[in-house]
Each structure stands twice: as structure tokens, then as C-alpha cells.
């Protein structure tokens, strides 16, 4: 994932709507981290924003998107890293010195002012250089406040942009949520900022209002021509409005790209799952552009190494339904849900459930065939295929890693060795070794880990932080409390997020290798 953080992944040509050159970076974030009370809200994030574009930070709550926005606004100062505006370092500049304005989620209007005074707040504080000619004919400039007339003019224009003409004298509390949000937008754009920051601005509005405001914001962006940085957890909102989407999770960037590229070519299982509905399968490359999943070989467009284990994404709308014996796959319909525009049909193929979206319906219990064309199959590198830890051997010849202690077979460290009665290791050459405190590398496969409700039973304990359905099993991540070590495992049982579980690993499934030569006794 390191290479993704560096720069935008394949920024696609953007057509005539935004003829922008790559050099026109307005904001550049370089290796920025923000740590609150020992946890990193934003973890070494680097990205840039091009002048005039509509960029969206998208992710679940707690992914660091709002913190990133607040650092651009100047409300939070990065723990490390730099923020550049037009090439100049603004990392430590206070918010009132930045040519950036923010629209807050809960509007943050000033309740003791009327609409006019709210919108005029920034203008009344602003000083602009005015050029004069003195008696001797020399010109000089003076910083001067805007005149009453200029302010009136600008406030009127800003209110016209947000469709609130004539609301000047109204008080904030007499406006509806949608109107308040418009005032908040007017209050920000009236200052003619270089960048407008929007922190989930539509989060507090109802669905219909939200859809209307989405279209209006998009039009406003076109009309004003300033850069919009938008934060949302709503993937649909991000897809409809943005030129560029930055998908974030756990303070890190998962993928940067256009809405189309993020939807069609998600970089990993998380992005595929978060953006739109998707079927995720465990697959294996069985040849050149040939992938096997659900016991069938499919032609695909992505090229990976033969025999590599991969994640396969198939969007529900990319699966065609055929007669039972004509399809590439055969399965039984187990549920049909009407979703308005389409039906959502779940089909059981072998042990795997496949979700299909189609305008045609089928009956529950029907046996049908399924076809997936090569361009409907997207293949991703597996995020990880094995758990790897650093650990050490204890006096009792157990191994400590990942905030836990496990029984293991230490003789695998030295081929042909065995243990004597006192617990010393005797190598094949007959040398006696004390393994206490030996540093080792530990590898454990996803299938080798079991979790149990009885936390004490396990060698380590933690909470389930993520569950991703992979067609015929769940991929679960258990995170320990102390050092936040992750155990990734595959299981067929359904667990709940936040369950506190014990992690069990059979001794023969713990692979150990020496980190360095150990001292002889």
C-alpha cells in the first residue's frame, strides 16, 4: 500500500470539464500524521489537490478524513509532516491567515446575528490593498476595510448564489436546516476563498434535501471555479459529485482516483466492499489472464503471476442470468428482494453466495445459470496472505508474539534437533543450546487460527475489528488491546464486530525462523 500513498493512482484524463495540468497543485500534503492521545488519527498521509477540482475524502467514521480536513483548515496542527498551499508551507499558519473557508457539518452559524451579519462576518474583518495617488503624483497602497456598499453588494450576490435573496433580516433560528446550510455556504464563499472545505455538509439533512443540495453544490462548484474539498462517509454522494475520490481507512489512504476508476478497479477488498455492492471471492490465477473461483475458470483482463492467490471483485450488476445449463456457474436462487429500480437476487453456487442485481426477477428455488464476462471481473492483489510477527522464545520453550504466548515446536529452528529433559535444545551436531529470549520471526496462515468465545482459552485476546464476507467464508481481523496487533483469519462461522475473543493456534501451525544466530551455552 506504500506506493499508493505517494501519488494519485493513474489519474485518468478528465475530459473537457476540467482541463487541468498536473503542475497546478493548490494543496499538497506531505507525510502528514496526527496523533491524539497515542493513537494516530491520520497516519503518514500524502496527497495533492489540483486547482479547481472537486475532491472528496471518503471513508467510514474514524478513518481520519475530518482530521485531514481540519489540518488543511488550520484547526488542528499536524504532529509531523507538511501542508503546502500553492507551494508555500502553511503547516503552522493559524486558520484566520489561510485563504480557505469551511462549511461545518452542523452549520455553526452565529445565532446572535441575523443572516446578513452572519454572511458579512468575514467581509467586515477583511482588509484589502487600495492604491492611491498623493499630491506629488506618487502612488501608494493602503490596507483598507471594505466599504458598507461593497459589503452589501457581496452579501447580496452570495445570498443569490445560494437562492436566499431577501433573507438578510431573518434570524438564524427561523430557518430550516437546509436554509441554514445555505447560509453557511454563503458565509464561506462570500470571502472568495481559494479552497472551500466542506465537512459532511449534508449529513444533517433529509434524503430529498440532500439530493437537491448535491446537485446545487456541484453547480456552484462549476460556477465559482474554486477548489472544493469535501468530506463524507456516503459513497454515493462521493461518486456523484467528485472529480477525484480519496478513500481512507484507519488514518491511511486506501486509494485515490476518479469515481469510475475507484468503482471499477478498487485497489483492495476494503475499497471494493465500501464503494457500492460487490461480490468478493477468493481466487487463484491458473494461467495468463485466467482466474479460478467458484470452481470455474474465468477469463479476465488483469494479469497476475500464475498460482498467485488473489481477491476477485464482481459487481452484482455485472452478473448475467441464463438458463440453468447454459451458464458458467449453476446455482439455486435463495432470496429475491425488490429494490425499486432492480431486484437483488441471491444465488447459492456450491457453498458460495452470489448477489445479482437485475431488472428481471426470478423465483426463489429456481435453478439458474450465471455468466460473468471478462470485463466484469476485477482482480486485486491480496492485502495479506499470511500473518507475520516478531517474537521471542521463553524459558518454557513457548513463543511470545502479537501480545500473546503460544505453545510451539522450537525444534523446527534447527533441522534434526530435539529437546532434552531439561528443556535445552540439542542440535543435530549434538550442541546444547539455551533458546530463552531468542528472537524469532513467526508466520501463521489465515486458516490456522481459531477464535473462541472464551477469551481465556486463547494464547492472545482481542476484539474483532473487521469482518469481510468472501463468498464462502468470512475474513476476520482480531486486534489485541495492548499493542494493537492484528490476527487475520478465515472462518466459516459468523462473528460480530467488537466481540472479545481468544486466539488459538495449534503448535504445528506456528512457523518459526531464526532472526539471528543465538549464543551458545
Amino acid at each position: 500500500m506504500a506506493e499508493m500513498k505517494k501519488a494519485k493512482l493513474s489519474p485518468e484524463p478528465k475530459g473537457e470539464t476540467s482541463p487541468l495540468k498536473k503542475e497546478e497543485k493548490i494543496i499538497e500534503i506531505v507525510g502528514v500524521s496526527k496523533i491524539f492521545d497515542d493513537t494516530a488519527a491520520v497516519d503518514n498521509v500524502s496527497l495533492y489537490v489540483r486547482k479547481g477540482e472537486f475532491i472528496t475524502f471518503l471513508g467510514p467514521s474514524g478513518c481520519g478524513k475530518t482530521t485531514t480536513l481540519r489540518m488543511i483548515a488550520g484547526f488542528d496542527i499536524p504532529t509531523s509532516g507538511k501542508i503546502l498551499l500553492n507551494g508555500k508551507d502553511i503547516t503552522d499558519l493559524p486558520p484566520n491567515k489561510r485563504p480557505v473557508n469551511t462549511v461545518f457539518q452542523r452549520y455553526a452559524l452565529f445565532p446572535h446575528y441575523n443572516i446578513y451579519d452572519n454572511v458579512a462576518f468575514g467581509l467586515k474583518l477583511k482588509k484589502i490593498p487600495v492604491t492611491y495617488v498623493n499630491d506629488k503624483g506618487e502612488t501608494y497602497t493602503k490596507m483598507q476595510k471594505l466599504t458598507r456598499k461593497e459589503i452589501d453588494e457581496k452579501v447580496k450576490n452570495a445570498l443569490a448564489v445560494v437562492d436566499l435573496e431577501g433573507f438578510e433580516k431573518r434570524s438564524v433560528s427561523t430557518l430550516s436546516g437546509g436554509q441554514q446550510q445555505r447560509v453557511a455556504i454563503a458565509r464561506a464563499i462570500v470571502n472568495e476563498p481559494e479552497i472551500l472545505l466542506l465537512d459532511e455538509p449534508l449529513g444533517a439533512l433529509d434524503l430529498k434535501m440532500r439530493k437537491e443540495m448535491q446537485i446545487e453544490l456541484k453547480e456552484m462548484h462549476k460556477k465559482l471555479g474554486i477548489t472544493f474539498i469535501y468530506v463524507t462517509h456516503d459513497q454515493e454522494e462521493a461518486l456523484t459529485m467528485s472529480d477525484t475520490i480519496v478513500v481512507m481507512k484507519d488514518g491511511q489512504i486506501q486509494q485515490i482516483g476518479t469515481p469510475t476508476s475507484i468503482y471499477n478497479e478498487p485497489a483492495n477488498a476494503f475499497v471494493a466492499n465500501f464503494i457500492g455492492d460487490s461480490n468478493l471471492f477468493n481466487g487463484t490465477m491458473v494461467g495468463a489472464k485466467l482466474v479460478r473461483f467458484c470452481n470455474h475458470n474465468f477469463k479476465c483482463l488483469d494479469d497476475f503471476e500464475k498460482n498467485e492467490k488473489v481477491d476477485v471483485v464482481v459487481r452484482p450488476e455485472d452478473i448475467k442470468m441464463t438458463n440453468a445449463d447454459e451458464g458458467m456457474l449453476k446455482g439455486q436462487v435463495i432470496s429475491v428482494v425488490f429494490k425499486g429500480v432492480h431486484y437483488e437476487i441471491t444465488v447459492k453456487v456450491g457453498k458460495t453466495e452470489v448477489v445479482i442485481q437485475n431488472t428481471e426477477s426470478r423465483n426463489v428455488g429456481d435453478t439458474i445459470g450465471l455468466d460473468i464476462l471478462p470485463d466484469g471481473i476485477h482482480i486485486m492483489k491480496k492485502a495479506f496472505t499470511e500473518n507475520k510477527y516478531d517474537g521471542y522464545i521463553t524459558k518454557k520453550n513457548t513463543v511470545v508474539f502479537g501480545d500473546g504466548e503460544f505453545e510451539c515446536d522450537v525444534t523446527q529452528l534447527y533441522p534434526g534437533s530435539h529437546l532434552d529433559e531439561e528443556g535445552y535444545l540439542i542440535t543435530a551436531e549434538g550442541e546444547q543450546l539455551d533458546l530463552t529470549d531468542t528472537d524469532v520471526k513467526v508466520e501463521v496462515g489465515f486458516q490456522s487460527i481459531e477464535i473462541s468465545d472464551n477469551a481465556e482459552e486463547g494464547g492472545a485476546q482481542g476484539h474483532i475489528v473487521s469482518i469481510i464476507y468472501k463468498g464462502d467464508h468470512y475474513q476476520v481481523i482480531v486486534r489485541t488491546e495492548e499493542n494493537e496487533e492484528d490476527y487475520v483469519l478465515d472462518t466459516e462461522d459468523l462473528w460480530n464486530e467488537n466481540d472479545f475473543v481468544g486466539v488459538k493456534i495449534a503448535p504445528e501451525n506456528i512457523r518459526l525462523t531464526l532472526k539471528q544466530e543465538i549464543k551458545q551455552k
Binding site: 483548515a73 488550520g74 484547526f75 493559524p94 486558520p95 484566520n96 480557505v100 473557508n101 469551511t102 461545518f104 457539518q105 452542523r106 455553526a108 452559524l109 452565529f110 445565532p111 446572535h112 462576518f121 468575514g122 474583518l125 477583511k126 433560528s173 427561523t174 458565509r187 464561506a188 470571502n191
Partner: protein
Amino acid sequence: MVRKILSVALCVAVLLFIYSPILLLVVYSFTSANVIGKWEGFSFSLYGDLFRNAEIMQILLNTVVLALVAAALSTLLGTAGAIGIFYSKKRVAAPLRGISQIPVINAEIVTAISLALLFSMVAFYRTYFSLVIGHMVLCTPFVVLSVMPKLKQMDPNIYEAALDLGAGPTTALFKVVIPQIFSGITAGFMLSITLSLDDYIVTAFTKPKTFDTISTYVYNAVKNGTNSSTPALRALSALIFVVMIAAVLILNLRVRKHSAKESAK
């Protein structure tokens, strides 16, 4: 029906229990007898005496001026303190808030004696200055107490929005934060005035010898039981009571009007 009568009767009994001493005082302020309990016919003469008594008028003025000065200074200090505590880091804010409230629960006599001790050590003892400081010690915690909830209720983004629109921290404080917490500041100021007006203990321990407020004057005058040397004080007490009742009524009416306006929105 019986039940209703009983409940009304009980209410009346409770109110009588609370108010009968004051009622007695008010009734006897309309007779010129030197001793309470003796009725020498209805007259306003005590009220006349009261307003002709230059000493009492001076003391009344002293008390009001002291209350205004102490309340104003306490409000300034308490508001600044509340804002300071609110915007400090969590680790600092919690203990600060706790410490600032100790004077509220501390016995007033302890506060008064410690103030007296402190002032006698630093030579301000029994000056007008020490008196004002004493009253500020009394009032400031209550200002903090009434401003703090307003700060907590305030949308935290409002201050940030002001900064975002180009205001410096000071401008943002005066244009946005202070107006938002103004009702808390006023409440703190009013509370300080009432606390200062009727305070006896701290005043007695910190006031200059020749200076008196109403509380200390009345206390000295009636020290020997009911045989008050200045019966006009009965009229003064009755007046204070009426003024207080009026103040409470006006405040209540205003609150009711305000909430009616709020709900009308």
C-alpha cells in the same frame, strides 16, 4: 373535596411557617413602638425616620456600591477563569474546575478567618481594598459556576468558524464567544450582587473599623435581642424584603416571556 381542602391547608401552614417571622416584621414596621410586640397604633413614622437617618442612608449607599464593585470585578475574573478552564487541555481543566469550586462548599467562616489572617500579614488588613477582595473571593466561584454551562452548551464549531472567517482569537472571543455566554455572565453578575449585598461573615472580618454595610450595621444594632436601638431598621428590613420579592417576580415573568417566545418559534 376533603382531600383538596387538606392539601391547601397544608400548603398554607408551610408558607405561614416560613413567612410568619417576616410578616411580623413587616406588620410592626408600621408602628412606632421601640420594642416588637407592642402596638402603638398604625403609623409611617419609622419609614420617615429611616429616610431622615443620614447614617443609615450612607450605609445603604456603601452596601450597594460595594456590591456593584465586587460583582463587576468578580464577573470579569470569573468569566475569564471559566473561559480559561474551558479551553485548557483536559488534564489541566478537570482539577482546575474542581479547585475553583472549593470556596463554594467551604464554610464561609473559614474563608473569612483565612482572609483576615492573610490581610493582617500583608498589611492590607481592614481597608476597603481587603473588603472588596473578600467579596470577590466569595462571588467569583459562583460566576465560574454560572458561565461554565453556557460554554459547554455552545457549539464548539462557532469559535472555529469565526477564526476560519478571518477573525483573530481576541476578535472571535468578543464577537462570538462572549455573546453566546452572555446570559451566563449576567446570571453570575446578579448572583454576585445578591451574595455581596447580604453577606455578613466575610464583611465583618475584612471591613475597615469605621465602615459598615447593612448586615454589619443591623447585626450591631440588634445584638441585644429585640431591644433595637434604632427601630427604623424594621422599616429598612421590610423594604429590603419587598424589593427582593419584586426582583424575583420580575425575573420570573421575564423567564416566562422568554420561554414563551422560544416555544413560539
